[in-house]
Symmetry: C2
Subunit: 402 residues, 2 copies
Amino acid sequence: MALSCTRPPREARSRRFAGADLHAYLEECRHLALDAIRTIIPRDTAYGPVLYELMLDYPLRSAKALRPALCMATCRALGGRLEAVLRSAAVLEFYHNAFLIHDDVEDGSHRRRDRPTLHELHGAPIAINVGDAMLSLALQPLLDNMATLGLGKALRILQTVARMTRETAEGQAIELRWVRRGCWQLSDADYVLMVQKKTSWYTFAAPMVIGGIVAGVPASRLTELRRFATALGTGFQIHDDVLNLIGAESLYGKEIGGDLWEGKHTLILLHALRRASTDERARALAIIRKRRPPAGRRRAEGDRLRGLVARLRARGHVTPAGQRALEGALRGPATGAKTEADVRFLRALIDHHGSIPYARRVARRWAERARRRLAGIERWMPPSVHRDFIRGLVDFVVTRER
Amino acid sequence: MALSCTRPPREARSRRFAGADLHAYLEECRHLALDAIRTIIPRDTAYGPVLYELMLDYPLRSAKALRPALCMATCRALGGRLEAVLRSAAVLEFYHNAFLIHDDVEDGSHRRRDRPTLHELHGAPIAINVGDAMLSLALQPLLDNMATLGLGKALRILQTVARMTRETAEGQAIELRWVRRGCWQLSDADYVLMVQKKTSWYTFAAPMVIGGIVAGVPASRLTELRRFATALGTGFQIHDDVLNLIGAESLYGKEIGGDLWEGKHTLILLHALRRASTDERARALAIIRKRRPPAGRRRAEGDRLRGLVARLRARGHVTPAGQRALEGALRGPATGAKTEADVRFLRALIDHHGSIPYARRVARRWAERARRRLAGIERWMPPSVHRDFIRGLVDFVVTRER
């Protein structure tokens, strides 16, 4: 991989990126980013297995590492050097993984990239602290940019990161407010604004803008890059919502249907609710507002209590009516959680109203918008393998299976 | 308060700070810091009551605001201007409150500054996101320092903040590792290292170093400031552990005995465990390793289930033996949580072995060490009301009641 630093492969050729090329490009960038991430994390073993080692857990799981690849590709497509952008690209991946750790705690998610989430493995306290420490460590390499990129570029990158983290937190706040208020009368425009702040900004906009800054393009072109990236990111997230329902878990890496269990505000569910009859909507909203069933220790407690009730019944210490009352209390209102049947109902509603094909159409419209914006950018971004990669992403984000 | 910006009060006089003066100085700085914090938080109401408004919740609760006061005092005592240091001082208070929000989630704390913790009021997801957003927003004012303080000072402040957040996360990691491994065979030196990283760095060292940077003192003097602050912070935290056991909740603002319920690693408990007999130690460790009882919804669930069992017993659906088994399961191993009697046992052990007087002695030794280091600093820090405040803190940190 060190090879790429000195001799960029396939630099001059320009052609349509096939799927395999795109994945090879991603994979190459991922290894470069991982190497750079390792230089960000202190090699200090004094904190045992609860801090620095855990920072590599998510990054080392199978992941696309889209953000560093997009950052590197933009920089190189615009004539910047790979070595100049590597550190900033790695920081983006580092931020992403810190956000994922905190997101997983906030959403109570069980799986991430085909393995249990960090807080399932180590508990929420350690997971929150690791995320905080990653957000902290990300500052130093951005300061180090001053020495290698010069003050102006380093400052503009820091400003972009400051904006990025703010947009992400605001997007997250929009969604949390909807959850808190049980707010479901939302338009596609509401959803799109949330997604553009929560996902597009840090997944697409910031990587491309930072790549452009390192390459030295003027502010007006940075705006063009950001507008393209925003459209691309919107299509990406809508397609992600689709994959969450119909993807293959082995490829997608998260539990299929997890968004329904979590009651996430997706374009798909919003569409189905708009199309639903009054009765269907009332039932769906009642389900959505239930929480997801507990996992881990809390579920084990419930199982243990149910087992005790059954044994007491078998030994005649509890009457059949008593058993029913206790089991009811331990199951339904006691946990007040969604059941398999609940989630099947939501899924049937979505299928009945064609909400998945609808979301696919909307995602493709955003990809088309991105394609038009890229055409404008290609007037000043010369042909290269890196530009091909960026162009390849336009199809990829709305057709990918992972 | 705006007065202070243009005409520092009592600037030239130097005398011993009485308690009232110290609190007046703190209070004045607190208002200056709050005004500056308000300029950091966007006045954007689009995110409803789940983001920006919540950032002011903890800062507006009754608090000492020690960090900004120490930062301002150090800067002004060394000839720096108040306006030059205000923004950085406010950022420190902002970071502190973000850490508190995440700490409270990690520790499962119920109360903070005499009110329920943020996650008790709004749930962990909103609390984690607010903390993240605060950590993000803190970057911009530090970048804005470039324009007002010049590049060199602004960069040194950013480097100090990067180090501060890293030290804090490492200190937190040391403690989390102890919790995770059930590690209690620890020396005072282990405890002191943890506290110096987790608390002293961001409460005392960073504020003083940043105050010194703004005032323009050379690196060797920054080191002297840091060494003084580290000793002061160690005494402060040990005294804080004492207050947690014997303070008045109305002054202290956190629940008295909360550290015992949480099983926190304090100098006091470590001392009591070292002095305890083998049997006492085994019983104490068994208690410490239990978790604290659930609060809020989970406790309400337990109460509801116990009520149901009582009603079923009254109606003859459960035998007396069945009731005992169910109540036992809902109480003891079901929750596996500490009881009032457990915490009383720990407290008695601490009193029996004189661990509180011991901790007071150790705290005073650190204060004395700080006093000696301050004497060195006073060779180049001229007399002023600000220097008096700093000197006043040496007594304050180990005698305060809040």
